[in-house]
């Protein structure tokens, strides 16, 4: 039993990574326009949700 104990920190770390990834995506405005993101996938030009903010070194969370 104790041989498999290392699995617990591994499981927790995986969970924490997922939580961190979610927090990051929330912060970077990826959930601001879910309907728009579904349409933009069909466009040819490349653009991400926060490039308008990145262009000015602005904090993305200030955007709507």
């Amino acid at each position: 039993m104790t041989d498999y104990f290392f699995l617990i920190p591994v499981a927790l770390a995986l969970g924490a990574t997922a939580l961190g990834a979610f927090m990051w995506s929330l912060r970077s405005g990826q959930y601001d326009d879910l309907a728009g993101a579904a349409e933009r996938i069909l466009f040819e030009n490349r653009d991400g949700p926060d490039d308008i903010a990145r262009a000015h070194g602005d904090e993305p969370s200030h955007r709507n």
Binding site: G15, A16, M23, D32, A35, G36, H56, H62, N64
Partner: protein, 769 residues
């Protein structure tokens, strides 16, 4: 509004929001107003937020972004399809490019949106973060708990309990804040709300589990405490999302009051001043299509004024020098120079806001069902836990065992049903209403509208539309109508629009016109061949004085002789009869209270068979509602005008159409976007259905407690039983909430505007005849 998207190559454009009732006069928006509504975001860049209700597919995104990015000075334009908004970043050293005109040219209505009015978004993000943390903690603790439940040996169990405690503690602090702070606020004011028993239950469960862990005991309730937080946060977040979405949608509607006005300064130069800087005796230039910013008197110019939103008068009123204008009225045809007679703080609008606040303060505070229930629930639960504790102390005298069992009682009775069952039902109900274009501002509004037994309507703009209808079409020579419709197609005056619509209804082919001109405050003139036609006021279009006084409304003259006289009245709202019938069947007493003249109100009221009061002042409207409320009736006020705003605030519940004045829209509990009046009975029906489901959920919760509490009191609740019981009861109330059915009228709601037009025209003709 764009009916189709020409370059929507792959995307379909059949979004349900496509036919929203937003086609209204586009007020001219000066550059200064754009500047006033923008904000600096650093690096000499300004951002302007426009709300564009017509965006509904990927094609729209490309079209709008391409058109705006091509303007000079624009750095970036980005469309948000979910909120139907465009954020435009432009260089602050240049004057703003014509954003709104550009969008109008490619077929979209656009309105300035107040920048930085989105604090609500931050709360939502906070809740989602709390939810994510609670979800992470709950799932991990649950996994550890499963191995404990399946019989891990004592040493492993202790380690697992410690790990659970380490995960639970930060999660409790981070995610629990939402409940703790709200419970603390209530307690400090000597009140209780749902959050008080929740906080006590969760904190005691955590504290006891920590104690057990220290002493290597077998039962720890970390999983129960954290998953309780998780479930309750789901309810809280959904509730908040529902309100945020309604608020965003309402805020995106056209702003109908002006932000500023063009003031002639002492040295003769023009300056665009914000409304609250305008002082009495200032001279203001008011272009056609602009709203009067403050109470004023006309100095020069002739025009017509649309008072529908302010006083409820349905027909445009002619004004000449000396006429007095109320703030908020719309200048229709000619430019005017007006002199301010009051500052913004003393204007009609500000007076309405003050009356509204007074009415709101006078209304008894509504306590929501969950809070009312928790007032009974919390003492009962806490008393049961205390009695359990005393009972076990008497029977066994073991302090630790007695405390453990008492806390288990608290955990098992923790009000999941109150914290989750009520918001779940209301979220489902609000979604149903949202899908049919009714925005619910908060859950409490749904509870209140379910209790309504009297519905009071304003007339102009509520029972009628904000457009006019030609009432005597059958008496008019089709050839004359064809000429009038062809001329009218070139003007935005309400009469002209009504004539043009009548022409389209008769399928007349437009005639070729020459020398077309519009005379502000008078009418339109055009020639066909050698004949001169005038369409407009009788005293301008006709040369014979005898004919001039005999006609009201608008006339068509041929070389100065009367050709046809047109009479107008407001167009009725769609499905008005069905709506009145449905509300009567729901047991509501109906009434019309209008600020308009007696005659048109009586006409409509007798036509619909409901009682009425005409020529009522805003104060009397409010007083009438207060009187009814004191007589024990629950009033739903449906109104759109500035003069209805205090009444909206005084009523038990209130609804406003999307075309209502800004203040009214913000005061109303529910805002409906579509033209059909069926929105009102639908809202009542869904709210009543929701109330029934909330009651069922509360009964389910009581039933669950009736089974679980005796087991807990007898000391048989292990962490496993607590986890299963709590999840099961949560799932039960959620699935019950999903049973809420939408409201179906016997007839499918009409989507096509054309079908609606025909039927309401038929109604109006019937009424006129």
């Amino acid at each position: 509004m764009p009916a189709t998207c020409r370059n929507g190559v792959l995307m379909s454009c059949c979004a349900p929001g496509a036919e929203l009732a937003l086609a209204m006069a586009n007020p001219h928006t000066p550059d200064d107003e754009v500047l006033l509504a923008s904000r600096i975001i650093g690096d000499g860049v300004r951002q302007t937020d426009l709300s564009v209700p017509g965006i509904h597919c990927g094609g729209c995104i490309q079209k709008i972004e391409a058109a705006l990015s091509a303007l000079s000075g624009v750095e970036k334009a980005r469309v948000n399809l979910s909120t139907k908004r465009v954020a435009i970043r432009w260089q602050a050293d240049k004057s703003p490019a014509p954003f709104i005109e550009t969008l109008n040219n490619i077929g979209y209505d656009a309105y300035l949106h107040d920048a930085g009015a989105d604090e609500a978004d931050e709360t939502l993000k906070e809740l989602i973060r709390a939810l994510a943390v609670a979800g992470f903690a709950a799932s991990n603790i649950m996994l550890l708990s499963v191995s404990v439940w399946s019989g891990a040996e004592a040493s492993i169990r202790n380690i697992f309990h410690w790990i659970s405690a380490l995960i639970a503690f930060p999660a409790l602090i981070y995610s629990g804040r939402v409940f703790f702070s709200s419970a603390w606020r209530a307690l400090r004011h000597g009140q209780t709300n749902v959050d008080v028993p929740i906080s006590i239950g969760v904190l005691l469960a955590f504290g006891m589990s920590l104690y057990e862990t220290f002493h290597h005991e077998s039962h720890a309730y970390f999983d129960a405490a954290i998953s309780l937080l998780f479930f309750l946060l789901i309810g809280r977040t959904l509730d908040h999302m529902m309100r945020a979405r309604a608020r965003t949608a309402v805020r995106g509607l056209a702003r109908l009051s002006s932000r500023g006005a063009l003031v002639v300064q002492d040295d003769g130069t023009l300056a665009y001043l914000p409304v609250n800087e305008i002082q009495p005796d200032m001279h203001i230039l008011l272009a056609a299509g602009e709203r009067v910013p403050v109470d004023a008197r006309v100095e020069t110019g002739r025009s017509e004024i649309d008072c529908a939103l302010v006083s409820g008068e349905s027909l445009p009123q002619p004004v000449a020098p000396g006429a007095v204008l109320s703030a908020g009225t719309l200048n229709l045809t000619g430019p005017l120079t007006i002199v301010a007679t009051a500052a913004a703080n003393d204007s009609f609008l500000a007076e309405m806001v003050r009356m509204m606040e007074a009415a709101e303060a006078g209304r008894s505070v509504y306590r929501r069902i969950a809070d009312r229930a928790s007032r009974l629930y919390a003492p009962a639960v806490h008393l049961t836990a205390l009695l359990t504790f005393i009972g076990w102390m008497i029977v066994e005298g073991d302090l630790h065992r007695a405390a453990t069992i008492a806390i288990a009682v608290l955990i098992i009775t923790c009000p999941c049903a109150l914290g989750l069952a009520v918001p779940m039902v209301q979220v489902v109900a609000a979604r149903r209403l949202f899908a049919s274009g009714v925005m619910v501002k908060d859950g409490g509004a749904l509870e209140r509208i379910a209790e309504v037994d009297t519905v009071i309507f304003d007339k102009t703009g509520t029972l009628t539309m904000d457009r006019l209808l030609l009432t005597n079409r059958n008496d008019i020579d089709p050839a004359a109508l064809a000429i009038a419709a062809s001329i009218a197609a070139h003007s935005r005056h309400p009469y002209s629009r009504a004539l043009a619509a009548a022409g389209r209804g008769n399928a007349v082919t437009p005639l070729a016109l020459n020398d077309l001109s519009e005379q502000p405050g008078a009418g339109m003139q055009a020639t066909i061949g050698a004949t001169t036609y005038r369409l407009g006021r009788a005293d301008w279009a006709l040369t014979a004085a005898a004919e001039q006084s005999a006609t009201t409304g608008a006339v068509l003259s041929e070389n100065g002789r009367l050709r046809a006289a047109f009479r107008f009245d407001s167009d009725l709202r769609l499905d008005i009869r069905e709506a009145v019938l449905a509300m009567s069947n729901q047991g509501c007493r109906l009434e019309i209270i209008s600020g308009d003249r007696d005659e048109p109100v009586r006409h409509l009221a007798s036509d619909l068979g409901i009682s009425y009061r005409a020529g009522v002042s805003p104060a009397d409207k409010t007083k009438h509602i207060v009187d009814l409320t004191e007589a024990g009736q629950r009033v739903l006020m449906v109104g759109d005008g500035l003069n209805d705003t205090p009444a909206l605030a005084a009523a038990h519940a209130s609804m406003a159409p999307a075309t209502a004045a800004d203040v009214g829209r913000n005061a109303a509990d529910l805002v409906f976007l579509h033209d059909s009046l069926l929105a009102v009975p639908q809202a009542i029906a869904v709210a009543r259905n929701a109330r029934q489901l909330v009651r069922q959920n509360l009964i389910l919760a009581i039933g669950y407690n009736a089974i679980a509490v005796p087991i807990a009191i007898l000391g048989h609740v292990t962490p496993l039983v607590a986890a299963v019981a709590m999840s099961a009861s949560s799932l039960l109330v959620i699935s019950n909430a999903l049973r809420l059915h939408g409201w179906r009228s016997r007839k499918e709601p009409r989507v096509g505007a054309l079908a609606g037009d025909v039927s309401s025209q038929a109604l109006a003709t019937e009424k006129a005849g």
